[in-house]
């Protein structure tokens, strides 16, 4: 049994030597292998800064992703987390701590509602039937709380178009 193992080992050694071209080849291959593993354990991260301030920015970003995805190599890099996207300064979400949204379906939006929304840094999505008081609108403008009235596309900060 042990002789069989020995034979097998020498056979494999020989085969490897043939395949890699001498003992130097083995060492070289081993080196190449180790450098490869080093690379895979510490992948070079590429950080791309994205600024999402408006709907146009989002559309542009999506187009950029689609362009990048056509190349299999970059697509793989994105999947592996080697290509990372970071929110830039001009981003809406980055200017606040939290960019959650609060939906209000019925009743009224008053000053206290706005103050609560400002504390959590969230955007208000307001149904059509909901009344936004004048004071709430003023406060929203002061605190920079965005009120989005449902069924309307473009809104200005703190203002509600009726």
């Amino acid at each position: 049994m042990s002789t069989d193992n020995e034979m097998l080992r020498s056979l494999v050694r020989e085969a490897l030597r043939d395949a890699l071209g001498g003992p130097d080849g083995i060492r070289g291959a081993a080196q190449a292998l180790s450098s490869q593993t080093q690379q895979s354990s510490k992948p070079a991260q590429v950080i791309e800064v994205v600024s999402l301030g408006s709907n146009l920015d989002v559309t542009n970003f999506v187009n950029r992703i689609l362009d990048l995805a056509t190349d299999a190599k970059t697509l793989n890099a994105m999947r592996q987390g080697e290509l990372v996207f970071q929110l830039g300064n001009g981003s809406v979400a980055n200017s606040k701590q939290d960019s959650g949204t609060t939906r209000i379906d019925k009743g009224a939006v008053t000053e206290s509602t706005i103050r609560k929304a400002a504390e959590s840094g969230s955007t208000l999505i307001v149904a059509r039937k909901v009344v936004v008081t004048s004071l709430a609108r003023d406060k929203a403008r002061d605190l920079g709380v965005t009120i989005i009235r449902e069924g309307q596309q473009d809104n200005q900060k703190g203002s509600v178009m009726r």
Partner: protein, 94 residues
């Protein structure tokens, strides 16, 4: 009291209107000048006062109505024109 702003709150239901009126006069230095009932349960309360007071009052009124009934609409008119008083009894002397 100078009345350089007009505040209006319209509710569905009489009880909500009373609650709104009470909350408004308690919240700020305003006076109630009119109560309009246009039918279908719609009741509007009109107040006058300084712009800031009227804004604060209508906000408090809206908050109160939120608890009791249904708020239909709310509006503040800063410096209403005197002409309004001819046909809408919303002035201080109305």
């Amino acid at each position: 009291m100078s009345s350089n702003a007009l505040g209006l709150i319209e509710t569905k239901g009489y009880v909500a209107a009373v609650a709104a009126a009470d909350a408004m006069v308690k919240a700020a230095n305003v006076t109630i000048v009119a109560r309009e009932e246009v039918g279908d349960g719609l009741v509007a309360v009109v107040i006058v006062g300084d712009v800031g007071a009227v804004k604060a009052a209508t906000d408090a009124g809206a908050e109160a109505v939120n608890q009791v009934g249904e708020l239909v609409s709310q509006h503040v008119i800063p410096r209403p024109h005197a002409e309004l008083n001819k046909f809408f009894k919303v002035g201080e002397s109305a």
